[in-house]
């Protein structure tokens, strides 16, 4: 079989993607920063930085610290706000030549609803990813994501005003990730993204204080991959909407783990920092795997590790 016969296209909750690789929110800016290294069209889709109603300054530095096979970030949702996004970024989005999703975060249910209502009429945006799992903000974020009833209410409100594909992003910090996933599904989510970062911290033993300005941050990278694969495995068995898997994907085999566990698509965050051409390399690796093992579409692999 020829490498290019192996098809990677996918329809994700109504969005057609050229391949199942998605640039993870917060790790890819608005899609333009990496254009020296990779054509944005090499991605199936790009999820832009978490966006809020009003501009946010973000957390005080240091915002990053490396950990064994991972990193903590505490950006604190620094972003210029939805108005700036609409005015200055939206017009450039078609240049990216792949579907763009906006990751939204609010401090109240009403803020989420408003953001969704605004984006409902933005044709350049193919869908939203509702972030109920950011560990780095005082209000909102993961505090919403732990309570299934609250999640159901929140996503219900958003669903009422948002007609395009609606993805809900979850974190294992919630503890009961399956119940939360089911709640989002009941409330009308079209797909689920998991996982967001896991809350962690590092202490500087020389200075005897936490390294991060925000004290705690979110753990990403290969360190969390086993936890993320397990979350995808459990959630994809419990819901019948597509799951987007992420957490520490560095190479094709890692993406395959998520797909075999039940993910329909995968997102890549931290790996971009190490290898800006990672999306191109992973597509090639997936094609190679399909060829080597005699599959004609990666769809045949989704959940294939389940007995």
């Amino acid at each position: 079989m020829n490498l290019f016969d192996a098809s990677l296209t996918v329809n994700l909750a109504g969005i057609s993607l050229a391949n199942p690789l998605i640039a993870a929110s917060g790790c890819y800016g608005y899609g333009f920063d990496y254009r020296r290294w990779i054509d944005p069209g090499d991605w199936g889709a790009i999820v832009v930085k978490g966006t809020t109603l009003r501009p946010r300054t973000g957390n005080p530095p240091p915002r990053l610290v490396e950990t064994p096979s991972g990193m903590l970030n505490a950006i604190g949702l620094q972003n210029p706000g939805i108005d700036f996004f609409l005015k200055s970024i939206r017009p450039q989005l078609p240049e990216l030549q792949c579907p763009v999703l906006v990751n939204i975060a609010g401090e109240t249910l009403e803020e989420y609803r408003q953001l969704a209502a605004i984006l409902n009429s933005v044709t350049e945006v193919s869908g939203i990813e509702v972030n109920i799992s950011c560990p780095n903000v005082k209000r909102g974020g993961v505090s919403f994501g732990g309570d299934p009833a609250l999640v159901e209410e929140l996503i219900g409100l958003v669903r009422e005003v948002y007609r395009l594909p609606l993805i809900v992003k979850l974190s294992p910090d919630a503890g009961n990730i399956v119940s939360v996933a089911e709640a989002a599904w009941r409330a009308g989510a079209d797909a689920l993204s998991l996982i967001n970062t896991i809350k962690g911290m590092v202490i500087d033993v020389q200075k005897r204080r936490p390294v991060l300005g925000n004290i705690t941050g979110g753990l990403s990278g290969p360190a969390i991959r086993p936890v993320a694969v397990r979350a995808v495995w459990e959630v994809s068995a419990a819901v019948s909407i597509p799951v987007i898997g992420m957490g520490g994907i560095m190479q094709a085999d890692d993406a395959l783990e998520f797909i075999l566990a039940g993910a329909c698509a995968v997102a890549i965050g931290t790996a971009n920092f190490i290898n800006p051409a990672v999306a191109r390399e992973i597509s090639q690796g997936l094609r190679q795997y399909l060829c080597d093992h005699g599959f004609s579409h990666y769809r045949e692999l989704i959940g294939a590790a389940r007995p």
Binding site: W37, P61, M71, I75, Q78, P222
Partner: protein, 273 residues
């Protein structure tokens, strides 16, 4: 300068290490075969580097371009051993492979006039200022390099500089070499002696930079500082390397990797880091 949105795949290089020398206590100079970086590098820019492929250490590390020779396709780095990656680099032998992204970042402003400059380097802050010194000297722009270190053997010896025609004014904290004092003390001394350069450029520890900016301000001189921060992406995408600046009384975060590492020092909030 590189056009921002051009797909230039060779900006990820697998470079070969050509030469590595210990040039001072804990300092190593590395010469790399890196055609694209050598062709485009500007003083103040950096490369984001990785040696090996294990996931610990996970992230790349930034190092200033210490010199670039576009005919020989080579760049130089000057590295102080600080932890995991820098010690691994120090242990490499010629022929070793290093993966780099770059050149990245916004470097020192290109001289738009025939102005003179004072360059103030604290310790390893010498790395980018050395490249600037060489480029300015090559363009025959009046340039004076002030260099501070803890002690004599914490700095490269004279031959390191003289070979390139560089003649820094040196100070050490213990007075074991040059003046007794810091690089900022040298600057103060030069300014007190009536020298008035068009610009001051500085790179070194935060406390030094704060003092250099203040000295410049007192004399009404613009100061450009090269800042440090812990980087992840190094291309402006993650907002992890934020450095606080004060504008109209509110704090705004700028990206060391992309908006800098070189900034006008005036608004930088050194007291917040």
């Amino acid at each position: 300068m590189l056009p921002d949105h051009n797909l230039i795949p060779h900006l990820i290089h697998q470079c070969t290490l050509i030469e590595i020398n210990k040039v001072a206590e804990n300092w190593y100079r590395l010469k790399l075969q890196a055609p694209a970086a050598a062709a485009y590098a500007e003083p103040g820019q950096f490369v984001h580097l990785r040696a090996g492929s294990a996931s610990d250490p996970l992230l790349r590390r930034p190092f200033s371009i210490h010199n670039a020779d576009s005919r020989a396709n080579e760049i130089w780095l000057l590295i102080r051993v600080a932890g995991k990656v820098t010690s691994a680099l120090a242990g490499l032998s010629p022929g070793g492979i290093i993966n780099i992204l770059g050149p990245l970042g916004t470097g020192f402003p290109v001289p738009d006039d025939e102005g003179s400059a004072l360059l103030v380097a604290g310790g390893i802050g010498l790395a980018p200022l050395y490249f600037l010194t060489l480029r300015r000297q090559a363009a025959a722009l009046p340039t004076e390099l002030l260099l501070g270190g803890l002690t004599g053997n914490a700095l490269p010896d004279d031959s390191f500089f003289f070979r390139d025609g560089v003649h820094p004014l040196i100070a050490t904290n213990d007075g074991s070499r040059g003046y007794r004092g810091t690089a900022a003390d040298l600057l103060e001394m030069r300014l007190q002696s009536g020298i008035r350069p068009t610009r001051i450029f500085a790179c070194g520890p935060v406390s030094m930079l704060a003092r250099v900016v203040e000295l410049g301000r007192n004399c009404g001189l613009p100061v450009y500082v090269s800042l440090e921060s812990f980087l992840a992406c190094a291309v402006g995408a993650c907002l992890g390397c934020a450095f606080p600046f004060k504008t109209d009384d509110h704090i705004e975060y700028r990206r060391v990797c992309r908006d800098g590492p070189v900034f006008s020092g005036e608004e930088a909030c050194f007291e917040l880091v």
